[in-house]
Symmetry: C2
């Protein structure tokens, strides 16, 4: 599996729109100890870290430069190449999770080869992924699942991992998407694996561990998603979770980008996930719901969580808001 060279220098290019810097912001918030600084080009956004050139970052201990911004279309613009090559010359590897691959760019390849440096595309799957074997692994596992894409499965897994560790529970965040992989320093880009190996990739992502150790696994997609449900099922089967937490955004009524597809009812989503998940772990249970209440006021959020909790007879909380409700969700996971 991937093992990314850390700490990082975060490269922001000349992207002026903060929304495109999600990867860099995620790294700053969830892996600050691994972020030495940031570097942008004229006109580029800052995320408030010390601005260091590649050479300065290397001196400060950085081992790689991470492309921390997305571009519309997913390409790496040609005018970024001099900076990226400067980073290679300074002794940094390059890490990226974009659709365009570093290894497909001849200028980068020849510089990396000349300098003996690595170009690491985190969305390029490992070459040694086995077919899933379905064998029960030791250790405890939690998987975040969702009623849709892009509504908080990564955030929830990170927040739960942090809360587990704060309670003295041994836990690792296991990343299944590119930003999560950079935060964790490793993982498996599930969406890029060949379909036949997807469950095997999920098995690899959370290997055997001590019986009191938790792997908190970042979910992908949704079992109700017309394009991505297969990935979600492979991840569910291969993860063998003991516990699931369902992630939901109440402001969303239909699948993002698929207006003909209503989001499922929460109880239905829990039932189907438990039914399918029981195939590889008969002891699977749902600990509760992670509610993304970013569109609501504090009072509305609290009311919705309390009401949903009563309806489902499960803990419901927004990890971003934290508080007693989130503590209860954490306890329910560990119960």
């Amino acid at each position: 599996m991937l093992d990314l060279p850390r700490p990082y220098l975060l490269f922001l290019g000349d992207i002026s729109e903060r929304g495109y810097a999600k990867t860099a912001l995620g790294l700053r918030d969830w892996a600050p100890e691994h972020c030495i600084g940031e570097y942008n080009l004229p006109g580029g956004v800052s995320i408030g870290l010390p601005r260091l050139s590649p050479a300065q970052a290397k001196t400060a201990g950085a081992r790689s430069i991470v492309i921390g911004v997305a571009t519309p279309g997913g390409a790496i613009p040609d005018h970024w190449l001099p900076t990226l090559i400067e980073a290679l010359e300074a002794g940094l590897d390059i890490v990226a999770g974009m659709h365009a691959k570093l290894n497909d760019m001849p200028a980068l390849r020849s510089a990396a080869s000349r300098l003996g440096r690595q170009l690491i595309d985190v969305r390029t799957p490992a070459s040694n992924i086995p077919i899933g074997n379905g064998k029960k692994r030791s250790g405890k596992r939690l998987l975040t699942v969702g009623t849709d894409c892009a509504l908080g499965k990564k955030y929830t897994a990170l927040a739960l991992t942090r809360a587990f560790i704060a309670r003295g529970v041994r836990a690792d965040f296991r990343a299944s998407g590119q930003t999560g992989i950079m935060i964790a320093g490793g993982g498996m880009a599930m969406d890029a694996v060949v379909a036949d190996f997807a469950a095997g990739a999920a098995e690899m992502l959370s290997p055997e561990n001590d019986s009191d150790h938790w792997d908190v696994i970042e979910g992908q997609g949704s079992l109700f998603h017309p394009a991505y449900a297969g990935v979600s099922l492979a991840l569910l089967h291969g993860s063998q979770p003991d516990v699931i937490v369902l992630c939901h955004d109440p402001s969303r009524k239909t699948v993002l980008g698929f207006n003909d597809y209503k989001l499922p009812d929460l109880q239905e989503a829990i039932d189907l996930t438990l039914r399918l998940g029981a195939r590889t772990n008969p002891h699977i249970r749902c600990a509760g719901v992670s509610m993304n209440t970013s569109a609501l006021s504090q009072a509305e959020a609290q009311k919705l969580c309390a009401q949903t909790s009563a309806e489902l007879a499960l803990s419901v909380a927004d990890p971003i808001r934290g508080g007693a409700m989130f503590d209860a969700l954490v306890e329910a996971c560990l119960a």
Copy 2:
């Protein structure tokens, strides 16, 4: 999508074990009009077609030579290369569905490039597969699903297609695995598609069609398979079947190669498939069960099919045995 050059010359190598010639036997049985002849090396099995050299086959109208045997391990032995290059020199393209890729063999690549011929690896997915869109397509679709791998989903789809056409119904067999693709002359090797594109690949496999036309789609894996359920779900969602036929082998009690996994109960398999399939086609229904009774006597087979039919209140038949029970299953599909 793939469009294979036909008719074929079937290459059998020097494989002496008939069981390894499944692809050639499938082509002989299901696409005889596209098989000009066979060619084996000393010691190789025959499947009873005229033995033609590549040059003779070319003269007789062949457009490609198909590797019709599997090897233990999936490699193409070096001592087959002279014959394969001879075929390229005779003006034939080469078609293969093995794990080892024709395009990874330098000797074949240089010969094909020199001669302007194609090396077609049917398990290499198309490069233009879109993300699934979940939009309802016109035309009717049937998908064969299974309680496990390798128990008759391809055979059932082929037999139903043939029966539909015999009744004057317009129908196409849509292949999702390598042997099926060679039989159909095209299709989509679902297991080789990157997971994020699997539902999109399934959508591509059965495009919009006339409202009275049937696509009969070869299923893959099983929703209950610990390694391959994700592929099965993506194929189910992308196929949007109006009708499913469940394929089962009563002699099998556990998943092939996964002894800890019991095969599901038939009613449970039908229920789960309909529940999941309803996401992209709310009108999905199960027409019946295709029972692989190869391990039973005629009397036992008839009794089992009748009994299962009574239990499920659905048509149950073995397409290999045909007869009135299979006719009833065909009618139930078209009802």
